[in-house]
Structures are given as structure tokens and as C-alpha cells.
């Protein structure tokens, strides 16, 4: 569906990283973790997919966090409180919360892949699941939401350059530093997802994937991902962006 969301608040939470709280009753009520909004940005032909980082139906808000990367996100960052954003969504399928009976879940986020995992972690802890979050960032000035995750469970921050928290990649965290895990959920850059899938290949996992999109609703075949070597495929915008780790081939 197409909706208008009004910017209620806006703040910079890390280097080039903006958090916006948006107001829209319908979206706040139906959004599930892992879904995204397809945002129209003035002067741009194509919409921008941005994950839902939080939703609070009691006050009709939806939170997004985005990194200023190119022209579209730069323009979006100039929007002011009170401005209205035209979005399609919530689009796609979220993380399967039906498995929330599992009692220990690992959350692995990388950079701007962290936002959807926050809403997920919140929902999981609400249903009694214990979460452990491993959040990777480039360096200290990119770190955000560490405090928010700490309120939900054990949180380990990793920076590539070691300027904050642990040094290296999220997959470097030793077995001893982590509790025993029944399931993992991850979102981040492709090389990270590949490494995550490999490291935890013995337990069920869910990955949220990114691809350049056209329509964002399943009509244009821009965002496909192969599921096998025989022409099988899924559309990230419609069948995803969340997939079970064994369901998709990460190239």
C-alpha cells in the first residue's frame, strides 16, 4: 500500500547515519521486523528501500535508520521534522517470529544492516527469547544503538579497525564469548552474510538480503536471487528480504 509518513523526529546517531521517527497509524500497526519501506525521494525516479527499525502502534510511529550513501539518502537526510515521505509498504516478508519458542537466539548485524535487527530483537525478547547481539561496524564513529541492544540482551560490538569494542569481523567472536545458540538472524553486507552462514552452518539461520530494486513489489524482476542451479529464484522485495540461510545461494 501507499502511505504518507510524517517526520516526527530526526537525529544523527553516528557518522552519516540518520534516525527518523515517522508517524503513520496503519504502518505502525502492521509492520513486522524485517519488512522494509520503499521511499520516494524528491527528484528521484526510483524509490529507496529502507528497513523498519522499530514500530510502536501505541503512538503510531515507525522508526527508520539510514546511512547517507549517495544522492537519494543525502536528499532524504535534508528532510525536516513535519515533512511528509511517500512510501510503499510495509513490503516483503519479515523474520519468522513463529520460531520464537527457541530460547537462545544470536543476532548478527553489520553496519546499516543493524536497524531491522533492533525491531526483531525487541519482538523476540518480548516473547521470552534470550538474545545475544554481535554488531559489527567499520570504526568507532559508525557505532549506533549499542545501548538500545544492551537493554535487550548481551551485546558485543566489533569494529573492523579495533577503534571500539572487539577488533575484526563479527565472525571472529570466539565460541567462548557466546552462549549456546538455537538459531541466528543476520543482516549486513554480502561478504559478512556469507561468513555468518559458513560459521554457523550447523544451526538454523535467517538472512536479510539487499539488492537494487525497481518496483519494490514483485513486478519487475530486478531483485531476484537464485535458489538453486536450475533457474529457481526468489524475489527479494516480495519473497524476502528475509530468507532461511539454506534457501538461497549467496554469490
Amino acid at each position: 500500500m501507499q502511505q504518507l509518513l510524517k517526520i516526527k523526529s530526526k537525529q544523527t546517531v553516528a557518522l552519516d547515519t540518520v534516525e527518523m521517527v515517522l508517524e503513520n497509524k496503519a504502518v505502525s500497526q502492521i509492520a513486522v521486523p524485517g519488512q522494509f519501506l520503499h521511499l520516494h525521494v524528491d527528484g528521484h525516479m526510483l524509490r529507496r528501500p529502507i528497513s523498519i527499525a522499530d514500530a510502536d502502534p501505541s503512538v503510531h510511529t515507525v522508526t527508520i535508520l539510514f546511512k547517507i550513501l549517495g544522492e537519494g539518502t543525502r536528499k532524504l537526510s535534508t528532510y525536516q521534522i513535519g515533512d511528509v515521505i511517500d512510501v510503499l509498504g510495509p513490503n516483503g516478508n519479515g523474520f519468522p517470529l513463529v520460531n520464537a519458542t527457541k530460547n537462545s537466539v544470536l543476532i548478527v548485524g553489520g553496519g546499516i544492516g543493524v536497524p531491522p535487527l533492533y525491531y526483531l530483537a525487541k519482538k523476540l525478547t518480548e516473547s521470552g527469547v534470550t538474545i545475544t547481539a554481535v554488531l559489527g561496524f567499520q570504526s568507532k564513529e559508525h557505532v549506533f544503538y549499542e545501548g538500545e541492544f544492551e537493554e535487550l540482551g548481551k551485546t558485543i560490538v566489533v569494529t573492523n579497525d579495533g577503534s571500539y569494542g572487539e577488533t575484526g569481523f563479527v565472525t571472529n567472536i570466539s565460541k567462548e564469548a557466546l552462549p549456546s545458540i538455537d538459531e541466528y538472524y543476520s543482516c549486513g553486507p554480502l561478504p559478512m552474510l556469507q561468513a555468518v552462514k559458513e560459521r554457523w552452518n550447523n544451526i538454523p539461520g535467517y538472512l536479510s538480503l539487499e539488492e537494487r530494486m525497481g518496483c519494490g513489489i514483485g513486478a519487475c524482476f530486478a531483485c531476484v536471487i537464485p535458489t538453486d542451479d536450475h533457474g529457481g529464484y526468489k524475489k527479494i522485495c516480495q519473497d524476502g528480504p528475509v530468507f532461511s540461510a539454506e534457501e538461497v545461494q549467496l554469490k
Binding site: 500500500m1 520516494h40 525516479m45 537494487r212 513489489i217 524482476f221 531483485c223
Partner: protein, 302 residues
């Protein structure tokens, strides 16, 4: 105010239809509005067997447009007839099947396959997809090949055939005349223009296929110019497309000589665009002193 247009095999209550590849098989957009308001619908390209298409990224944004290299991904003609055509037929609007192939034989087979349903009103022959070649020659850029494939498809079907022309040619009039001579019932123009975008940070083309087809408002002046030129040299009707965003754009295409139009890329930005254009068109025609769509066709040619 009459919006109706009669074209070979197509009785259109208004001249607006979604363009091939930009509307899938209608399912997603039917969540936004009732598709029965459309003049017609053009389906995503059909090939004989299912195709996966190109690697991703398949799209990129440009100034006032986009590049795409989907690579004709589709479930194959049999599946389209079995599952997609009946869905679209439920809206009681003319269905146009866009057909593609790698060889003349494949085009013939796909055209033949659409004989097995009575729910398709016309074929749009996609000879202009940049990734479709035989013997290294694109059907859409060689008038002789274009003529051959048109003849083959005309032989294989009794549905009217609209040949979709590529703008990636030096002599668009020559191409149009060649397919008219081969028996085309109408023309569809234009398809996308081949382009490329290079990502600065990685120093590589953004699109995995390297090149992609440019669409959107960026190509509208080219479409208008080509339709204007072709209209004066052929007697078959033209379905115009390329960058249509508003009812004013539709009028411009009509003035250039199009008898109906297709809206592509704009659907991605605004899923309601076809509906909004259909609602606005009578006002736009009136504003410029036309009392029907038919009256405006070709009136811009001086």
C-alpha cells in the same frame, strides 16, 4: 469526451496501457487498483522455455530515468498461458502478449503457443531487446532480420501483430517500413536505449550485464521524434511509449502520431500512475481543445 480508440484487434476504452516488463502480469498492481479501468495490458515478455535472466544488479538509476537489464526473465509461455493469462482475463480488458526469442524459430513457437488461448487479443513482437540476437545480429537493428521475424510470426498466428521497434538504430523509418511490408498490423515504439553507468568506487559498470536499457522521462524526446518521423511514412497505427509520467505526456504522444500509449517506468515510482492518467486525460484533452482522443492523433505533425 471520448477516450476510445479502435486498433487492429483492440477495442480500447481509453488509450492507456501498462508497458511490457513494467507491470509483471498485473498481480501486484491489482492490489493498488481495479485493473479493469485500463485500456489494455501488455504482459511481460514470454519466451518458449522459462528464463532466469541476467545476474544482478539489474537496475540502476539515472537522471530522469533508469537502466535495466532484466534479461527476459519469465516462466515460459506455457505457464504464462496457464496461470497469468486467466488472471488478467478476469479484468475483461484486452491482453497483449509480448513475445521474445533467441531465434526466429523460437518466436514462431511462442506466437503459435498463444493460439492455444482465446484470451489474448494481440501480440507485441519484442525484436528490440538488446540481449536478443541470432547469428550475432539483433533482429531489432537489421531491417532484413526484422522483416524475416515479422513474416515468420505473422505466418504462425492469426492475432494482430504489433512490432516493437528499437530506438538503437540510425534509420527508424527504414525499420518501420520493413516490418510494415512484412505484414505488421501496428508498431510499438520505443523500447529502451542502450546505456551504461560506471560506479566510481568500484570502477565497474553498475549493472552486472554491463549495459542496460535506458527508460523513463530521459528518453521521451527521442520517442516523440521517432514516432513523429515514422507516422509520416507508414499507414499502420503506433502504440507510443517512452517516459510517460502524466496525461500531458500522453497528449504529446498523440500529437506526434501515436494512437495509444504504454506507461512503463513511471509505475515503479507511482503504482497508481495509469489510473491517475486515465482520470486526468479528459481534462487535459479539453484544456487543449480536443473533444476526443482520436481527434488528437497526429495533429502535431507540421
Amino acid at each position: 469526451m471520448s477516450l476510445a480508440v479502435e486498433l487492429p484487434g483492440l477495442s480500447l476504452k481509453n488509450p492507456i496501457m501498462p508497458a511490457s516488463g513494467c507491470f509483471g502480469f498485473g498481480r501486484e498492481y491489482s492490489d493498488f487498483y481495479d485493473l479493469s479501468i485500463l485500456g489494455a495490458v501488455i504482459m511481460k515478455a514470454a519466451t518458449m522455455e522459462s528464463r532466469f535472466g541476467n545476474p544482478t544488479p539489474r537496475v540502476a538509476e539515472t537522471s530522469a530515468g533508469m537502466l535495466n537489464a532484466i534479461g527476459l526473465q519469465n516462466p515460459g509461455v506455457k505457464k504464462i498461458i496457464a496461470t497469468e493469462v486467466p488472471f488478467l482475463a478476469s479484468f475483461s480488458i484486452p491482453i497483449i502478449a509480448n513475445i521474445a526469442g533467441s531465434t526466429i524459430e523460437e518466436y514462431r513457437q511462442v506466437a503459435k503457443a498463444f493460439q492455444h488461448t482465446d484470451q489474448v487479443a494481440a501480440l507485441e513482437l519484442n525484436i528490440s531487446c538488446p540481449n536478443v540476437k541470432e547469428g550475432g545480429i539483433q533482429f531489432g537493428t537489421d531491417p532484413f532480420m526484422a522483416q524475416k521475424v515479422t513474416e515468420a510470426v505473422k505466418e504462425a498466428t492469426n492475432l494482430p501483430v504489433y512490432v516493437k521497434l528499437s530506438p538503437n538504430v540510425a534509420d527508424i523509418v527504414g525499420m518501420a517500413k520493413a516490418v510494415e511490408k512484412a505484414g505488421a498490423d501496428g508498431l510499438s515504439m520505443i523500447n529502451t536505449l542502450t546505456g551504461m553507468q560506471i560506479h566510481l568506487a568500484t570502477r565497474k559498470p553498475v549493472i552486472a550485464n554491463k549495459t542496460g536499457g535506458l527508460s523513463g522521462p530521459a528518453i521521451k524526446p527521442i520517442a516523440i521524434r521517432m514516432i513523429y518521423e515514422v507516422k509520416q511514412h507508414v499507414s499502420i497505427p503506433i502504440i507510443g511509449m517512452g517516459g510517460i509520467m502524466h496525461a500531458e505526456d500522453v497528449l504529446e504522444f498523440l500529437l506526434a502520431g501515436a494512437s495509444a500509449v504504454a506507461v512503463g517506468t513511471a509505475n515503479f515510482q507511482n503504482p497508481y500512475v495509469c489510473k491517475e492518467i486515465i482520470e486526468q486525460l479528459p481534462h487535459t484533452l479539453m484544456q487543449y481543445s480536443f473533444s476526443s482522443v482520436k481527434e488528437a492523433i497526429g495533429k502535431g505533425i507540421v
